[in-house]
Amino acid sequence: MKLDSLDLNALKPKTMNQLNPRTEKEQGWIGWMFFSDLFAGLALTLKYLFSKPVTMQYPDKEKWRPYSRFRGHHFLRKDEHGQIKCVACELCARICPSACIKVIPFEDEHGERRPAVFDIDMGRCLYCGLCEDACPVEAIAMGSHYEFSSYSARDLLVHKQQLLTMPGKTPTGDAEGAGGTVVAASLSDDGTAAEASKQAQGYHWWDIIHRKGQPKSDRAP
């Protein structure tokens, strides 16, 4: 263990005093008499007035791409031949705390075990992700879709065909459209925010946070 090479001071979160050492310096009596600290505050708000706001205008103009770890709407994966990966072992149904997954296996034309019925009641689901953890073949996973409110509980019972078409996880790291980016969107009729284009290059949310003394590329996740 290389404890001595750990730079604890660099790991500690930076306080405002470290970021803005000018406040620790003695201002002097002229500064006191002419309210230099008040004017420093006014200058800061003036700077903020002319800087880009950090608001994400969801859902009117922008949409958030969640991280790949986000537990959104479930989706069923297919393998490289286009066949569904799920082997209908019902482990996800057993581990589900809300008992909202219903799996009925059958033997398909190749003699393999596949699900005939794969229903998830999204109204009862906790979105805990245990089904994703339990699956031995990485068939069921939780994706990045989160806008599926509906007026009737019946619409929330999704079947195998819908689960196969759900969008998957967002890519990680600095890939195109990775999690943590805000992309242009617009409000659609059903109340969801539709992305302007699937390949929209948004901005990473940390890049517009104004921080004194920290480099812009020093992204916190």
Binding site: L38, G41, T45, L49, Q57
Partner: protein, 319 residues
């Protein structure tokens, strides 16, 4: 016959000023919320119109549609009258104010005295509002507000004395014309400082808004008011802020005299007043508010001696 015509013309001018003043708080609320947002790195209202421009109209509709509650044991007559009493003095002050060359409602020889006197009537609206509401928070809030307002009137008046010594007249048009060469801010920096701080306290803006303290003290003297009655208090607050800005411009910053660019006098006046209104809002969203005892001690122990010293020094120079 010509008498009727003159009265008619006067009424028309009064109507114009009234209409402008009634409509001024509407864009002010929008500007205040947008500036509040952008100074806090967020956007203000964005949805109601283009960048939230129709938000004040939505606010007005909401206030009109609200239930008009009157507390059970409240003094009904005072309760209903108090917001209107609060609304009258800011309008009355604008009678004596010159907006541009020979553009005024009334050329009073004692304009400054009139403004200070009528501005003091604002306190009645506060007292009646707090008393009539029959609620302990409202009463406490109104007592504190009243004490704050009367304490800060004194340094404000003394600061204006300095200006009057320079211009040798109480007539506001004469004061502005006396600044044709150099503005009074050059000769009276401390006077302006005292006047501005006292004006902030008179308008009950942060950092001196302990009395309303929006959420700390249950909104102070206008706690029990809802709907249009509350909106009258808000309108009067914005108008007092506008009045203080106008007075700052007239007394210290040359009124309608321009700097380099030749623009119409009224436009220069409006730009300067707009700048001061912006400074009011800028200060509001930068500083925390003073505790009540700090507030009172600033009024009596800091501003009053400063304004007296200002009069002394100005007197030495004028004589």
């Amino acid at each position: 016959m010509s008498g009727v015509l003159e009265v008619g013309m006067m009424l028309l001018h009064v109507m114009i000023v009234l209409a402008v003043l009634f409509l001024m708080p509407i864009p002010f609320t929008w500007v205040e919320r947008k500036i509040a947002g952008h100074m806090q790195q967020r956007m203000g209202p964005m949805r109601v119109g283009w960048h939230g421009m129709l938000q004040p109209i939505a606010d007005v509709v909401k206030l009109i549609a609200k239930e008009d509650t009157i507390p059970d044991q409240a003094d009904r007559l005072l309760f209903k009258i108090a917001p209107i009493i609060a609304l009258v003095p800011p309008f009355a002050v604008f009678v004596a104010i010159p907006f541009a060359d020979n553009l005024y409602l009334s050329d009073m020889n004692v304009g400054v005295l009139y403004i200070i006197a009528v501005g003091g009537l604002e306190i009645y609206g506060v007292i009646f509002g707090g008393w009539a509401a029959n609620s302990k928070y409202a009463l406490l809030g109104s007592m504190r507000t009243c004490a704050q307002l009367i304490s800060y009137e004194i340094p404000m008046g003394f600061a204006i004395i300095g200006v009057m010594m320079l211009s040798q007249s109480m007539n506001l048009s004469d004061i502005v014309n006396a600044q044709a060469d150099t503005w009074n801010i050059v000769y009276q920096p401390i006077g302006f400082f005292v006047f501005f701080i006292a004006g902030l306290a008179e308008a009950q803006r942060i950092p001196f808004d302990m009395a309303e303290a929006e959420g700390d003290l249950g909104a102070g003297f206008h706690t029990e008011y809802s709907g249009m009655r509350f909106s009258y208090y808000m309108i009067s607050e914005y108008l007092v802020m506008l009045t203080i800005s106008v007075l700052c411009v007239i007394l210290y910053f040359g009124g309608w005299h321009g700097v380099l660019v030749p623009l119409p006098a009224l436009l220069w006046f409006s730009l300067k007043v707009g700048f001061f209104v912006y400074v009011f809002m800028w200060i509001r969203f930068t500083f925390p508010r003073y505790r009540y005892d700090q507030l009172m001690s600033i009024g009596w122990k800091v501003l009053l001696p400063l304004s007296l010293a200002n009069i002394l020094v100005t007197g030495l120079f004028v004589v």
